[in-house]
Amino acid sequence: MSEKPTSALPKEDTKELHHFVSDAPFDLRSVQTLTPEQEKIYFASQLTLMWWKFKKHRVAVWSGVFLLVIYASVLFSEFLSPWNYQTKHTKYIYVPPQGIHLFHDGKFEGPFVYELKRKLNLETMTREYTQDKKKIVKLSFFCSGDNYHWMGLISGDNHLVCAPIGKPFFLLGTDRLGRDMLSRIIQGARISLTIGLIGIAVSFFLGIVIGGAAGYYGGWVDMVVQRIIEVLQSIPTIPLWLSLSAIMPASWSPILIYFGITIILGLLDWTGLARAVRSKLLSLREEDYVLAARLIGAGPSRIIGRHLVPGFMSHLIASATITIPTMILGETALSFLGLGLREPITSWGVLLNEAQNINVVAIFPWLMIPVVPVILVIIAFNFLGDGLRDAADPYK
């Protein structure tokens, strides 16, 4: 047996190992190169990112549109309402909501309502209205009707839609003095919706200034502010509102009272916001870029205003949208209790206050309609706030 020594190694391949060298010029970042789509995202501004994220929240978008439309209507309340909201139609007291018709006797007549026949029912002491199917009241658009003072400044008589003066046209019925409910609701929106904005401005200002100081300086400033906030938050709100609104003198004009109440609401509402601002600042002020700014020689107000606040502005906006409904509800609650706004100012709270009795529930249910816009606006604001909060943190 002849033994051949065998190598442990395999036989060398005769073929050369393929060697590859890229001809392309050397690029250090080639791995990180972005596709155009990626580029769009990575280089987008914060605001654009938020907008994209927000757009995905469909409900929030529609809520936003709804609120925009409603707020826009506030500017033209007088024009949009069919009557002056203060006009008392003493012949048409407690008229139930009317329907709009298009065809009369099979003929197209354009939008119209039927005239009403009133009968005093001495058995039940109610006013009974029946449609007079023979007489129609044609509605006209962009017409002159009831007189009004636009924002108390310019007098006019143009309405989007109106019926001839003296004819009944009450889409949402009338109240106990014969005032058109639809006009009152439209007019009430002006007060109820704006009271939130003014209040929020006051509370925003106080919240950022006080919370900012507490968070940035820390130490005893923080300590004092925290305790004040705790005290303010521990006071039950309704009794506090009541006593504050009782202070306002009766001789003040309703518009002054309205401002007084907004400011009261704002003065009490800044605490939550101040807390949020403080905690954000506490964490942000430890960041390197703050240190850098300080080393360059920036003062506290510049650091807070230029470097820190923008860092959580989006968060603030979101929290503001959630606070506005509380303001609206606050006004409604106060007026509902008869301690907020008073006649002749008309707000949704004032309207609901008037609906607060057994007669309304049992016999005149349409007087409770102002609940509907309140609910819709509050829900819309909540959805909008929800969407904004999600959007405020787009990388999540």
């Binding site: 039940t124 002491m125 009795n357 057994i358 049992a362 016999i363």
Partner: protein, 611 residues
């Protein structure tokens, strides 16, 4: 063993007393109610009814509904004896009161002249209990009567001069009590009771002194003490505070029906105290067997709707008030410019004439009220068209002319008149904030007054605060109901027409002057008001009905011509809810404090349950 025996004996004794109460009877000489004349049906005894009230202080409504008075108003609104068997009236100067034989307090103790003596000698004339002396109805020119107690059932009051106030005061809705259960009250009186015991009670009841103790336990009009014996048809058995106050039939009540059955028929009245806003709602579900208070005309439709399910009927009683709502310009307001304005009759007349009463009637009262000033009602013998129509018809032109003439002819850019000191003519009307009807009427008036260049602001507050602000002169103008005695007869006290009380919101300071016998307040400076004061004094000295009638009419004509109160409309309607089980409640009645005592005039003790 001994204490056990004692308690057993006490148990037997107490059950015996209970038994004797159960067999209690009316006086030997009861007041027999003529059921035929009143068109009432003979009922049967027993049962319990529920009524609703808004606050526990309304417990006094039971004293008003019960309507047991020494004398009371009969069907023609003249005075006739009720608790008393008879009264001998000698020219309004001397009154001999005869009590019923065998009449007892609700606890079974005889009701005698001793109870009158106790009140007159030990309460009215006790300087500690009544520092101001006996009440006005007992004084003529500051002098009280001579009281002769003839026997245990006869007592005579004699004055030097006529006292026409005496009998009407006894019959009032809030009557003048001239008697007290002496046997019960003596335990709280320093003169009779043991000093140690009184001191003990003062500590346990947490009061200042024995007089407050005596007052607290002796309130007859507001029967909050369940132990206080009473003469009313039902007696309170619940210690306050409570949300459910139970009244039981008085076993010694002095009225019987035509067949001799003792009244009241109904055994028990339960007064449930709930928030006044929900009374209409609760009544609509049948939770009250008899309700008028806290129901408003605008609840009628709602109440009618629930009538079948709630097993009740709703009727409308006209109100007996002189006006459903009046505006009261405060002639004593602190603000000098407004004081001068309100004291000017031209301003008051202009304000009244600018009110569009027919619009208010149409809108708020369904067109069923009368557009009139604050005066008496047509069914009163003192009524005249002239008074009712005085300065109450709408005439904007004339109102404007009157204001111009009074020197308020300058206006600012918005058309509001200016006061001489340059401030705008803005009137703040303060209300008790108790009814939305008030606010609605004021809203309509706000528009009406705009056309004469006067601005109106409404300030709702609260009853007690309002009273305080009015009497201190801080409130410019307030609202209240019109004359309580809209159904006045010449015998009734015309005090509402003259400054006699600091509660009168149109002249609180002048009223206080009379009330305090000139010690505080000021005498009326306006000649017409002074004339009213003078006439009031004349009425109090008038001995014949004719003389009284003449004075009443003159006072009414000054009062309405000078427009001290601006009446809106009169003759509003009050919904009354009556359970279908409850019998003898009349379909037609008049809802007023005086003289009908709300239900009192229709004798709730004759109401019975048909179950």
């Amino acid at each position: 063993m001994k204490p056990l025996l004692k308690s057993a004996a006490m148990l037997i004794a107490s059950s015996f007393i209970g038994l004797s109460q159960a067999f209690a009877a009316p006086p030997e000489e009861p007041r027999v109610i003529d059921f035929k004349a009143l068109e009432k049906s003979i009922g049967k005894k027993g049962g319990s009814i529920d009524i609703l009230m808004g606050k526990w202080k309304d417990i006094r409504q039971m004293t008003i509904y019960s309507n047991a008075r020494l004398v009371s108003y009969d069907q023609t609104f003249s005075l006739s004896p009720d608790i008393l068997k008879s009264v001998d009236n000698d020219g309004q100067k001397s009154f001999t009161l005869h009590l019923r034989k065998g009449h007892k307090w609700s606890d079974g103790t005889p009701f005698t002249t001793e109870d009158f003596r106790y009140w007159w000698e030990n309460v009215a004339n006790n300087e500690e209990l009544e520092p101001a002396g006996p009440p006005a109805a007992m004084l003529v020119n500051g002098k009280g009567p001579t009281v002769d107690i003839i026997d245990s059932h006869t007592i005579r009051y004699t004055w030097d001069n006529v006292n026409p106030l005496f009998l009407p005061a006894l019959a009032g809705a809030r009557p003048q009590y001239i008697y007290m259960p002496a046997h019960y009250m003596k335990q709280f009186h320093a003169k009779f009771a043991d000093a140690g015991k009184i001191a003990e009670l003062i500590t346990s009841e947490k009061v200042q002194n024995w007089t407050s103790l005596h007052k607290r336990f002796g309130r007859q009009y507001r029967p909050e003490n369940p132990d206080l014996p009473t003469l009313q048809s039902w007696m309170n058995t619940t210690k306050l505070p409570s949300e459910r106050i139970v009244f039981k039939a008085n076993p010694h009540f002095h009225r019987v029906d035509s067949e001799g059955t003792q009244l009241p028929y109904i055994d028990q009245v339960v007064m449930n105290v709930v928030s006044s806003e929900i009374i209409a709602a609760k009544t609509g579900t049948g939770e009250s067997a008899l309700q008028g208070r806290y129901l408003r005309f605008d609840n009628f439709a709602f109440l009618k709707k629930g009538a079948e399910e709630g097993n009740y009927k709703v009727v409308l009683w006209p109100s007996g008030k002189g006006s459903e709502m009046t505006l009261l310009p405060n002639l004593n307001v602190k603000d000098e410019a407004f004081r001068k304005a309100f004291q000017d009759v031209r301003v008051r007349r202009a304000l009244s004439m600018a009110v569009n009463r027919s619009e208010i009637n149409e809108t708020i009262f369904f067109g069923l009220a009368r557009e009139a000033s604050n005066s008496v009602l047509p069914s009163s013998p003192l009524y005249s068209d002239e008074d009712a129509q005085a300065w109450s018809s709408l005439d904007i032109e004339k109102a404007n002319a009157l204001l111009d003439e009074a020197g308020y002819d300058k206006k600012d850019s918005s058309g509001t008149r200016l006061l001489p000191d340059g401030r705008p003519f803005e009137i703040i009307v303060e209300t008790a904030g108790e009814s939305s009807q008030e606010t609605d009427i004021l809203q309509l008036i706000t528009d009406h007054w705009k056309s004469i260049g006067v601005k109106l602001f409404v300030k709702p507050s609260q009853r007690d605060i309002l009273r305080k602000r009015v009497s201190s002169g801080e409130a410019m103008m307030s609202t209240w109901e019109g004359l309580n005695r809209g159904l006045a007869t010449p015998e009734m006290n015309p005090e509402e027409l003259a400054p006699v009380s600091s509660v009168q919101a149109q002249w609180p300071v002048w009223g206080l002057n009379y009330e305090s016998n000139g010690k505080s307040g000021e005498a009326a400076t306006l000649p017409e008001v002074a004339k009213l004061s003078g006439l009031y004094k004349e009425w109090r000295a008038a001995s014949t009905r004719d003389a009284q009638e003449k004075i009443w009419k003159e006072m009414l004509s000054i009062f309405t011509d000078q427009v001290y109160t601006i009446g809106v409309v009169s003759g509003g309607l009050q919904p009354i809810v009556v359970s279908n089980k409850l019998q003898n409640v009349p379909e037609e009645g008049i809802w007023s404090f005086e003289p009908t005592l709300y239900f009192g005039h229709y004798l709730p003790d004759t109401f019975w349950l048909d179950e």
